[in-house]
Symmetry: C2
Subunit: 251 residues, 2 copies
Amino acid sequence: MLSKSLGKYIQSLQQKKFRQEHGAFLVEGSINVLELCASDYQIELVLTTESFYKENAQLLDKQRVRLEMVSPDDLKRVGSLVVNETGLAVVKTKENRFLVAESDEFVLVLDDIRDPGNLGTILRIADWYGIRKLICSPSTADVYNPKVISASKGSFTRVEWFYTPLASYLADLAGAAVYGAFLDGTNVHTHRFGPSGYIVMGNEANGISEDVERFVSQRITIPRFGGAESLNVGIATAVICDNLRRSAGGK
Amino acid sequence: MLSKSLGKYIQSLQQKKFRQEHGAFLVEGSINVLELCASDYQIELVLTTESFYKENAQLLDKQRVRLEMVSPDDLKRVGSLVVNETGLAVVKTKENRFLVAESDEFVLVLDDIRDPGNLGTILRIADWYGIRKLICSPSTADVYNPKVISASKGSFTRVEWFYTPLASYLADLAGAAVYGAFLDGTNVHTHRFGPSGYIVMGNEANGISEDVERFVSQRITIPRFGGAESLNVGIATAVICDNLRRSAGGK
């Protein structure tokens, strides 16, 4: 049985204000909860349906956290998913810790990515392509938004992020390669990527801001073969990462 | 002023049943309506706000169709978008016409793509990469769904589709190259694509069905460099199309 006060607390974590106040966020659904259990995140409590508990008793018990048996209806009521027949965890957020690219590493820089679905997709793409760090402008969607976590399909456990004003962050990077996608850049199919650097992805409607564009040292372009005016930012991120991994090395 | 009966008719077109009954569908928002006006689709009527009409009077008048001035609130009420301050068109659907790949052409084959957002994104990607034909299983989302049209950002005007049972369609293609993405295929970074063929994309949860897999002649794989278990079907479509265009020719 889910108490009223616990239900209210969980519901409140759908809002950024309360996530910040409590230093906690929601992880929902089977893949996300299972990947969470294998990560270094600190879990506060887990709500689980009976069937999900039965299938994963060993893993869930190993977490040594408060477990509450609930119904799918409970999960739907307090969580953000339209359907959830498995589980939900309340998890401690991590400190906003400074991150920088190592000399053999690529990181993504997100300049005002507003849509939580896009941000979740970008986490999943970063994880697929072995990119482990995101640098996010303060105006980028909150990564702890339940929609971001859900869309990441567990990839939030393998990628780190650092929210910081991008212009001053980039100004401090002496001599690093900073890649940005523009219409007049060199073709990603033939561009020679170095061993490391920063890949800037811009806002859904406006692209990379002028403030950030100043720091782009290598302008790249995804070649177009048909009539569409643009690609979605998640799609563009994937195509750039794929070309980068094909042509460069890095980790 | 929007009459009650016209409002009801437009609202009804959000449902497949009524789209089929009336042979009509909705096109909403600025980009989509403007691209529509430049296409060969037969428009029944256009609802437009005053400001959208003023900006595009010449183009809209040229259509020689019934034009109704409405408010953004009217558009919101009868259409599917949360915000629409521009226009909405009611458009005749096209006949479900047989399509086949020419000898220098790639086409996409969609095996049970259920999510309208994914289908709309795939239309946009196809258009970007100059792929002009989709072959869709009957269980694939309805391309005339307003969510598909909206997500396509005008690309629905440059791509054609043919809904047909895939197994019998593919059985009739003698000797064509049929590409499908699997975990055990050859790496798309090094695979040599021929000049033409069919690229099969599978269901969001289950991938390519067994019935269709039998006809795949070239198994390909998007290489993974990190921990994510899979890529979204739209992302995978884009990465495959990008590699195909880089390594092959075709149109």
